[in-house]
Amino acid sequence: MTTTQDHTAVLQVQDLAVEVAGRPVLRGVTLALRPGQVAVLMGANGSGKSTLGLALAGHPHYQVTGGQARLGDADLLALDATARSRAGLFLSFQSPPDIPGVRNNLFLRTALNALRQHRGQAQIDAYDFLSAARAEAARVGLPEALLGRAVNEGYSGGERKRNELLQLALLQPKVAVLDEIDSGLDVDGVRAVAAMVQAQRERGTAMLVVSHYLHLIESLEPDAVLRLDAGRIAETGDVALARALAREGYRNGSAAVAQAA
């Protein structure tokens, strides 16, 4: 994990600047992730953590005003949201939206087949898909009944997050940004996140995990912890930085780390 140029990185972000509704939010974010690396992104509310994920994913309301982002050999910023996903970028939403009337299993299978088609792989039929989806749902603790219900409609906060984990497991991206994946999850759910991150890391997925909670951060054993402040990466460290921020807060946490060093 670096905050400078890294030619072995699968995700390379350089001086990324982003505006939302004309207001600058990111003012020059630089980071790089190699395959299998896990970085935790921390920061106060409004520091731009979610903006970073949504801008990388190509949300049309997030206007990139400067900088670069590359996913492997692809110029990420030149692609639309679909192409970014097909190139291997996955964003776990902080608040995953409902899709009324669309069954979860149909949505997931449609998404998976879109990606498989892009990768030149054979389409997966409904029965094979259901078998795989049931196994992964059990792994992330998502009740099987939710596969047959409309996407996120009437799900609890924790079920939505487990559903995001299920999608991550099935779609197997190159890079995943998990935006507060632990919010709303019970202790078993947090364990499922840690296990999923570990499994994805072993298969080479690079992950940027946005979180405020030390318990999860420690269980992830991240390669790096980044603190985002005022639209920039203000600090880079390891779990010690996360502990200091958890103990002292975002105003005083970095000073505590400096003193400890």
Partner: protein, 348 residues
């Protein structure tokens, strides 16, 4: 004469397939002596389907401005039936007709209606509900021309009716109206209409509900919604309540909203093309309206045939509820082309 088909047994109810007769090959063709409708009777199940007689063939009726043919269906006390009402493949559905339904005490009719035709025909459904009777109508309609009118009279106490309609309007002018009148005590009525409009379509969608003076404890809910998906459609949504009793509950709303962009972006982030995402999200919205009205299993059976009537490739058979979404996506693809094909947008 085309035939009506009684598909039995269903999992828990009889199903009547109601089809209009094809028009004569030419004006000089001998007129059918009568009936365009086949007579079905199943006393054990408690329903009777009764064709009215009229002179001459349908075109003659239309030409002379006479009353359109009427079909009467009576459902006996406690009976339960599913009425599937569509246009057979190859039929342009040009005939006007009206349907009169009489539901006895405790009867329940699920009425699934598909109108994929472009004919401009006028369809009218009138239903009379006895005590504890229940009538649910789901309509999926290519709203390009013509009109569709449903009038439900809840005459008995505790009668219930719900009419859910999805109108796919890409061109032409279409009028849609659902009226309910609650006369019995503690009755419930629901009207839900979703208009997906594109191009130069012109649609009037009305909901009118009356609570009669004796309708104590009656409840009604109206929900009208339009989503313009492309072009410059004009859609008028007109909810109307007429309440003549103090002890009633009524809610109504009419919304003109945009496609839910957060859901579309979410789908794109999962790898669907923009067109795929819009189609799936809209099909889901349509499916939600229809499934709030009729049983998903029955809906699935009926919508499997949609591909035949639109000319789309039939969906492969299956036993998953994905069939409904697939069929609705086929309908959207067929009727709302601007929605599903973008320049430079490739599903693959």
């Amino acid at each position: 004469m085309d035939t009506a088909v009684l598909d039995t047994p269903l999992h828990r109810a009889h199903q009547l397939r109601l089809r209009a007769a094809p028009a004569p090959a030419s004006a000089s063709a001998p007129a059918e002596p009568c009936p365009t409708w086949v007579y079905l009777e199943d006393a054990a199940a408690g329903f009777r389907l009764e064709p009215l007689t009229w002179a001459g063939a349908v075109p003659a009726l239309t030409q002379h401005g006479g009353e359109p043919p009427t079909l009467r269906l009576q459902l006996g006390a406690g009976a339960h039936a599913v009425l599937v009402d569509t246009v057979p493949p190859g039929d342009d559905g040009a005939a006007d007709w009206q349907l009169e339904l009489q539901l006895g005490a405790g009867a329940w009719l699920q009425h699934l209606r598909l109108r994929p035709e472009r004919s401009g025909a006028v369809r009218q459904v009138r239903a009379h509900l006895g005590a504890d009777a229940r009538y649910d109508q789901a309509l999926l309609c290519a709203a390009t021309a013509g009109s569709d009118f449903t009038d439900v009279r809840l005459e008995g106490d505790r009668a219930r009716a719900h009419v859910g309609s999805v109108l796919l309007a890409a061109a032409g002018r279409f009028e849609h109206a659902v009226h309910t009148e609650q006369r019995g005590r503690d009755s419930q009525a629901g009207i839900e209409t979703l208009v997906l409009a594109a191009g130069s379509a012109r649609v009037d969608a009305d909901a009118r509900s009356v609570h009669a003076p004796q309708a104590r404890g009656a409840r009604v809910r109206q929900r009208l919604a339009c989503i313009p998906v492309a072009g410059q459609p004009r859609v008028r949504l007109r909810p109307h309540l007429e309440i003549l009793h103090d002890d009633v509950q009524a809610a109504h709303g009419a919304t003109w909203g945009a496609l839910p962009h957060d859901a579309v972006f979410f789908a794109c982030q999962r790898g669907l093309s923009a067109a795929q995402a819009r189609r799936l999200v809209l099909a889901g919205m349509a499916q939600a309206v229809l499934e709030r009205t009729v049983d998903a299993v029955d809906l699935r059976r009926v919508l499997r045939g949609w591909g035949d009537t639109t000319g789309e490739a039939p969906q492969p058979p299956g036993e998953t509820s994905d069939d409904v979404t697939d069929a609705l996506q086929a309908a959207l693809t067929h009727w709302l082309q601007p929605l599903t094909v973008d320049a430079g947008d490739h599903d693959g």
